[in-house]
């Protein structure tokens, strides 16, 4: 409960999305680990901050980067700040230090909505579709900011997720978990983003559906879109990842290609169960 008497604690409403402006831009404080972020397309550089202006720091000098057309995965134990790190790159956090750059441009001060216009697509973990609207309407709403003809993009999304084409006049709330996630990803793809942020896309879906979703995500990345995702299923996610970040308590613990991390005995020991 906040101290503002007009508000209530409607918990699941992520009000940080409405935050105007953004964090402050400070000098890069640098990190001790080598992360090879020179060619990064999207980079959240040495981010320190938490929710709200006065909230405690959740991220401590955390760096996340993704290259063009690659898949970067953030893994780590519960409460490590995985989602928080990703939301920070999307402007949903108050950064006290560090910066976010997209294609070489500093976007640290932009609001999330402005970042969507800059070419970022974000798929939240929960309530990521318009349940009362049809699949097609969901996709149309994804393209709301586009004033040009988006029928090509619509066809591409239907091509990527053929099941959605069959169900395009059905209310999105009536679909299964996996299909909902496809709608959510499809909605984000409608703006033709250059970077796609996925917050636990496979949460609550069966292993078979999960494999299929990962296949689709690889396909998205092959089409030149950078993908940054947070995953619970660390092993599978690292297998498809070009780059992996292991976060512990809001700080970078291990960084490397997916294969390197899978082979790293320390990572295996602590996060992948041996």
């Amino acid at each position: 409960m906040s101290s503002n008497p007009y508000q209530d604690g409607r918990g699941n409403k992520d009000r940080t999305i409405t935050k105007s402006g953004g964090g402050t831009l400070n000098v890069d404080t640098g990190t001790e680990q080598d992360k090879h972020t020179g060619e990064a397309f999207l980079i959240g550089d040495s981010m320190t901050g938490g929710y709200g202006k006065t909230g405690p720091d959740i991220l401590h000098d955390c760096t996340i980067a993704v290259n063009k057309g690659e898949i970067a995965v953030i893994v780590g134990p519960n409460g490590a700040g995985k989602s928080t790190a990703m939301k920070a790159t999307f402007g949903m956090l108050h950064l006290r230090a560090g910066s976010v750059r997209l294609d070489g441009q500093d976007i640290t001060r932009l609001s999330p909505q402005a970042r969507v216009r800059q070419g970022m697509g974000f798929v939240p973990q929960t309530s990521n579709i318009f349940t009362s609207m049809t699949v097609q309407e969901n996709l149309e709403m994804g393209a709301f900011i586009r004033t040009d003809d988006f029928s090509d993009t619509l066809a591409q999304v239907y091509n990527l997720f053929p099941i959605l084409k069959d169900k395009r006049h059905q209310a999105a709330g009536e679909l299964s978990g996996g299909q909902r996630q496809q709608v959510a990803v499809g909605r984000a793809l409608m703006t033709q983003p250059k970077v796609l942020l996925l917050d636990e896309p496979t949460a609550g879906v069966s292993p078979i559906v999960m494999d299929e979703l990962f296949d689709r995500i690889i396909e998205v990345a092959r089409s030149g879109i950078s993908v940054l995702m947070v995953e619970q299923n660390a092993r599978q996610a690292l297998e498809i990842a070009d780059k992996g970040y292991v976060l512990v308590q809001g700080a970078n613990a291990h960084t490397g290609t997916g294969k390197e991390l899978l082979a790293d005995p320390e990572v295996r020991q602590s996060f992948l169960g041996g």
């Binding site: 007009y6 508000q7 209530d8 999305i17 309530s127 579709i129 318009f130 349940t131 709403m141 709301f144």
Partner: protein, 336 residues
């Protein structure tokens, strides 16, 4: 013959008035439901918004009448309707900018907005009574009946007459047109879809680049139009009295809640459910039963379940029952 007479009497006293009243309630409830779905609070000022819009229509109608302007058989009020809608839009958008916007920026709880809307209700109520006075005002003109009871009797040779007032016919036709337009707008246009998206998932709508202030503006415009049309139709059918519009709030809210708050289809269904319940329960069934039952079973009393003075008790009872047993309403709206 008796059976036909019974049906005619039933239509004359129950079906036709209930359909007209139901259409008026449905239009009112649509406004309430839209505000609830998009601005997320129960707008207690809705009845007085209707009164304000209707008041402007009445004043403009009088002005037209004084100039000799009329629509022949149709009421002059139809000509004055656009002026009422414009004035009412100006009022609600002004109120939104002055009052509701502040609380929206504070992200105030719905319950605070409800109390705020009550304050707005008292102000609007006072404003209307200050301008036009608290008394009954007649402003219906043109042809009074589509079919009068006497014509009907002559035409059919039945004992019972069937009267359809012009205002009743007009109410149903106007309501159909308005509802069709509203559904077309909400389901087919980009702006309408963005309003539904905002109502469904505010955060995701923001992520999709939908401008909330724009959505709120369109909502108020539509609500002002709906309220003015509903109020004018009700005023034409009965008379215009500011206090009656304040009392209409109860059946309107009952309609919206029975249907499920936030569901436009529910608001329409709810309007008719409430109207039919009110009319059938307060109707004296003696005449219809006398026609239908054998002579020795004919009722002595009026067979009226409730005096018309208590008609609000019907909506109130339905409201309580729905809130107790099915808080989300018939069409799975949001619970209050």
């Amino acid at each position: 013959m008796d059976f036909l007479n019974a049906i005619v009497a039933l239509s004359n006293f129950v079906l036709i008035p209930a359909i007209a009243y139901g259409s008026q309630l449905a239009l009112g409830a649509l406004g309430v439901t839209l505000i609830y779905g998009i601005l997320r609070f129960s707008n207690f000022a809705h009845g007085d918004t209707m009164a304000f819009g209707t008041m402007v229509v009445v004043l403009v109608t009088w002005w037209f009448q004084s100039m000799g302007l009329n629509l022949g058989p149709l009421p002059t009020a139809l000509l004055a309707l656009p002026f009422g809608i414009i004035a009412c839009s100006a009022l609600v958008i002004g109120t939104d900018k002055l009052v509701y916007k502040f609380y929206r920026e504070q992200k105030a709880k719905p319950v605070i907005l409800v109390i705020v809307s009550m304050g707005v209700m008292f102000i609007m109520n006072g404003l209307v009574r200050f301008i036009i006075g608290p008394n009954d005002q007649r402003f219906a003109d043109g042809e009074r009946f589509i079919i009068s009871a006497r014509d009907f009797k002559q035409m059919t040779g039945l004992q019972e007459g069937l009267a359809i007032k012009t205002t009743q016919g007009l109410t149903v036709i106007t309501a159909l047109i308005v509802v069709a337009l509203l559904f077309w707008f909400l389901n087919r246009t980009r702006t309408g879809k963005s309003m539904r998206a905002y109502s469904d998932n505010e955060d995701l709508a923001l992520l999709s680049g939908i401008n909330p202030e724009r959505v709120v503006l369109y909502t108020w415009l539509i609500v002002a139009a709906l309220a003015t049309v509903a109020g004018t139709l009700y005023g034409l059918d009965k008379t215009f009295k500011p206090f009656t519009y304040f009392q209409l709030l109860l059946p309107i809210f009952a309609s919206a809640i029975v249907g499920g708050l936030g569901s436009p289809l529910g608001a329409i269904t709810g309007g008719f459910v409430i109207a039919f319940s009110e009319v059938t329960i307060t109707y004296a069934w003696k005449k219809v039963l006398t026609y239908l039952l054998p002579e020795n079973l004919a009722p002595d009393g009026l067979v009226q379940l409730l005096s018309t003075d208590y008609k609000f008790a019907v909506s109130f009872a339905i409201l309580v029952i729905v809130l107790l047993f099915k808080p989300t309403g018939l069409f799975k709206g949001k619970s209050v």
